[in-house]
Subunit: 250 residues, 2 copies
Amino acid sequence: MNHRLTIQYDGTDFHGWQVQGAGERTVQGELARALSLIDGRAVAVHGAGRTDAGVHALGQVASVELRREISGDKLRAAINGNLAPDVRVIEARVVEEDFHARYSARGKTYCYRIFNARYASPFLVRYTHTDARKFDVARMRECARLFVGTHDWTAFSAAQADVETRVRTVTQLAVRERWSEEGRGRLIEITASAEGFLRYMMRSIAGTLLEVGRGQMDAAQVARAVESGERSLAGATAPAKGLTLVEVHY
Amino acid sequence: MNHRLTIQYDGTDFHGWQVQGAGERTVQGELARALSLIDGRAVAVHGAGRTDAGVHALGQVASVELRREISGDKLRAAINGNLAPDVRVIEARVVEEDFHARYSARGKTYCYRIFNARYASPFLVRYTHTDARKFDVARMRECARLFVGTHDWTAFSAAQADVETRVRTVTQLAVRERWSEEGRGRLIEITASAEGFLRYMMRSIAGTLLEVGRGQMDAAQVARAVESGERSLAGATAPAKGLTLVEVHY
């Protein structure tokens, strides 16, 4: 039976989603281990997308094919019983045979969070990037519009990304600010939806918008980076800890 | 100069606020160590109140007398530079000589949080108590009113509490429910303000309200526990991890 899992993880202590060399703790590796115990054989775990080391997920999705017949609720409980507290299956359900977490996905939403204070709150330090400098959020919001649409994202992705095309469509890019009760300071949240993200794309967009907010870049430069694909025109890649995969759209 | 510090900590990896035997990591101990480095001598740290092992703080307050002249902003940065990420001074300021974090306090607000879902979210697991059972929040809210007022809290405090009187005034006790975007589930928050809390008092009130919400106790029993001071009539003490010291009132 084919199962769809919705997964949360605090990426702090993981070397990302994907199984790497021996000894590296990964989310995919932990799930595969737990599922193999349940199904009595090696189970392949297909994730909707790879997240890098330190990146978190509120709603990562994976599909797994199990030999054993088991309900969604029981499967969720059985997997969670074999996982550490920093990764959790929040929903499991039986789905049609042709569902594949990666190939069936129509898009994803990521959120990059900056805690704009002069201290890193213990309650936010794992999930946000702290920056005490002044940010002009209205300016960031104006520039955010430049990213929406279909573009070649060469300037905003890893040089080594082994993909056929770097053209992707960003459908939404919002910059919000709100007060954090936990941190007792201001949070700036950059939320982006796209049909697909290249490696480092979201962190590069976030890093660019942070430079815009601090007055180190202007709209003309951003537009040139988006249009030209010149990597040197984009801002620095923002730290992984501020990034969360919010949702996968099907 | 006398300084007032506002402190946040994730209590998970602390043996509470107060310095204990050697080798026990405590918040007071970590602060005293950092301050001694700054002031070049042993510094006494007076906290507004002790929190037990595993209990968190969004706004604990401490007062410290320093020989060295230093501004609030510089002191905050200097202390934070000598602390681990799970404890942080979010504000430091020079105050009148007669300010004392404990003796000047007029009251405190605590919040007990229950994540009411069938899994412990990685983003909430450190700061909430997870309970999947059904809770009747309206019923909890009705019973919460019974706690407000001046009572002898013997039934709701540690047997060994070495205090002259167990009479305290609870000024507010609210039960709220809200959706948690992080956990993707329901949070039940019990917020209490009082001029003072005895040891285990808040966790015992929370544990009692949880039993009320699950239908294991009714209003008559709660009223009897409050009036009689009979420990056996109160609910179980709720786990420390769900409790947060929100604010100290001056």
